[in-house]
């Protein structure tokens, strides 16, 4: 993760110059705005995702809706929890902070959150418990970042889409997750 503060110029480089097409940075027009060509260049969403919190927030504030969507799609989709609780892991909180940033800049974008369980317990009670994980993500975004409820769509998946079915703690911790739905 880059810790240094990104200057506007460097930001322009990130947005346009790190493209794999090797194109030149867009020319500045006489009014100090870049030409329309800039919007056609692919946002290097991976680089943006690697910015630290404040820099990330700054970066996304300048993005077009399409670029915002690209960064959204590039973020980690799996949210993990601490053992036997609905406490979000520290890394997951960082990931969710980034989603919050995007949602704030895209107030019309809704985010679907899936809540999953491990295989222990009955399949149908896990349908109810899975909702807790999805709600934990929603609550974090609402409380910590003031994201409106209308943008957050939590759904339980119980133990229907387990990643593994072994009765081991390693498998259980893989399955205990929330997933942000990507297209």
């Amino acid at each position: 993760m880059y810790k240094q503060i990104i200057t506007a110029a460097a930001l322009a480089t990130v947005l346009t110059g790190c493209s794999s097409t090797g194109q030149q940075p867009a020319p500045v027009t006489e009014y100090g705005q870049t030409s329309a060509v800039e919007d056609d260049l692919t946002v290097n969403s991976v680089d943006i995702a690697n910015l630290d919190g404040p820099a990330f927030d700054e970066a996304v504030a300048d993005l077009s809706p399409e670029q915002l969507e690209e960064v959204f799609q590039s973020l980690d989709d799996t949210i993990y929890f601490e053992l036997a609780s609905n406490q979000l892991s520290a890394d997951s909180q960082i990931t969710l902070d980034r989603y919050a940033s995007i949602l704030k800049n895209a107030p019309d974008r809704q985010m679907e959150i899936q809540g999953h369980c491990d295989v222990r317990g009955t399949q149908s009670f896990n349908m109810s418990l899975g909702l807790e994980r999805a709600q934990a993500v929603k609550s974090y975004l609402q409380i910590t970042h003031n994201i409106p409820a209308s943008q957050l769509k939590p759904h339980s998946y119980g133990e229907e889409l387990t990643l593994c079915d072994d009765l081991t703690e390693a498998c259980h911790s893989q399955n205990r997750r929330a997933v942000i739905v990507k297209n």
């Binding site: 679907e112 295989v119 222990r120 317990g121 009955t122 399949q123 149908s124 009670f125 349908m127 109810s128 418990l129 909702l131 807790e132 709600q135 929603k138 769509k153 939590p154 759904h155 339980s156 998946y157 119980g158 229907e160 889409l161 990643l163 593994c164 009765l167 739905v181």
Partner: protein, 435 residues
Amino acid sequence: MPRNALAHTLLCLASLCLLAMSLQTQAQTQVIEINQGNDQQARIAIIPFAGKASENLAQIAGKDLASTGQFEQLDDKDFLSLPRPGDTPMFRDWRMLGADYLLMGALQESATGFALSYELYDIQTQRQLLSRKLPLRTQQLRLGGHKVADDVYQAVTGLKGAFASTRLAYVLKAQNSTDNKKQGQKFSLIISDSDGQNAQTLISSKQPIVTPTWSHNVKLLAYTSYENKKPEIIVHPLSGNRKNLGSGWAPSFSPDGTTLAFIAPDARTGKAKLFLYNLAGNQRQQLTQGYSVDGEPAFSETGNEIYFSSNRGGKTQIYRLNISTKAITRATRTGHYNARPSLSRDNKSLVFIHQPARGQGFYLASQDLATDDMRILHKGFDSDSPSVAPNGAFIVFAEAGQLKRASVDTGQVDTLIGKTAGRSIREPTWSGYLR
């Protein structure tokens, strides 16, 4: 096959097109009451049925009877003769083998399929207890075997059998075993005979299908579908159009079929809560409140109580809601985790999944509702989704992707469908009697 054709096949198989059935009964002798303890099985000689067909009806009937735990089947290697219906048995030979009962049958080809005839004798009294004839289409052969089992079971024990006149529904999840991701998964809602065989697919999907349940008249299934990428309740008549009732899961029909109990998120707190859906009025009504997680409603036979699981007391236990008074009382008394309530039709027993202490397995358990006495019926490691047969004699359940059936009286557990790579059976549910 087209849906209407499937529905017709299901309904016709279901009732064995009973209008066409002709029973040739002897002057029925009184049913002899046998007081069977677990340690005293009826010894039955089942003669391999005469005639050729794609199914072995004697074997089907034998398996059903053996699964009750109340019959011991004699080895046909020891049989000195192989009588057919119409023959008079050599009673002394059968007495010497230690047989209590003799069952024989024959299948004859007919214009429309087969004619099945079967007879049951009591060896001690030398009396004929049953003599029946039944027309069967080829697709009905297995049901014919189950009907033989029902008749023998009733003649010997006095109890109504549920082998031929009930159905199971369950979910089959098929997955490429090398593929751990969502792609390549298929969920199918299956309707089968009471032994899991004769599987017919009602609907299948790449998205999960969960929590199937029968209406009491066996004309509808309700289940949870993710076809719109979120859990929604579907009511699906065997013949007719399916209806999406919106957000929710774990439906349970009231006995009179007018109402569905189910679980859905509370609009304000987002917690899983108990709701009722009035099917005629298309209205939902919230029954529970608060910050607990509620799940798995099951209507009692009276239609006035709903049993459900909840962690409102800290641990997950089973509670009982009285619909008239709204009072909620706790039903399960012991153990670390009790869930997935299922009621017997006589309203005397609560069957459920029980974990005695943290870290232990999830066991099949039954509780007497009058005395609250609980007993563990089966100590598998991960049993789930128990459902009681309408005669109260059996419980079907899933364990590690396998379909299993337990005899309530004897505790004997049979595996109906075992595990095959990439395929797992989930959430079986036993229907009521077909009319």
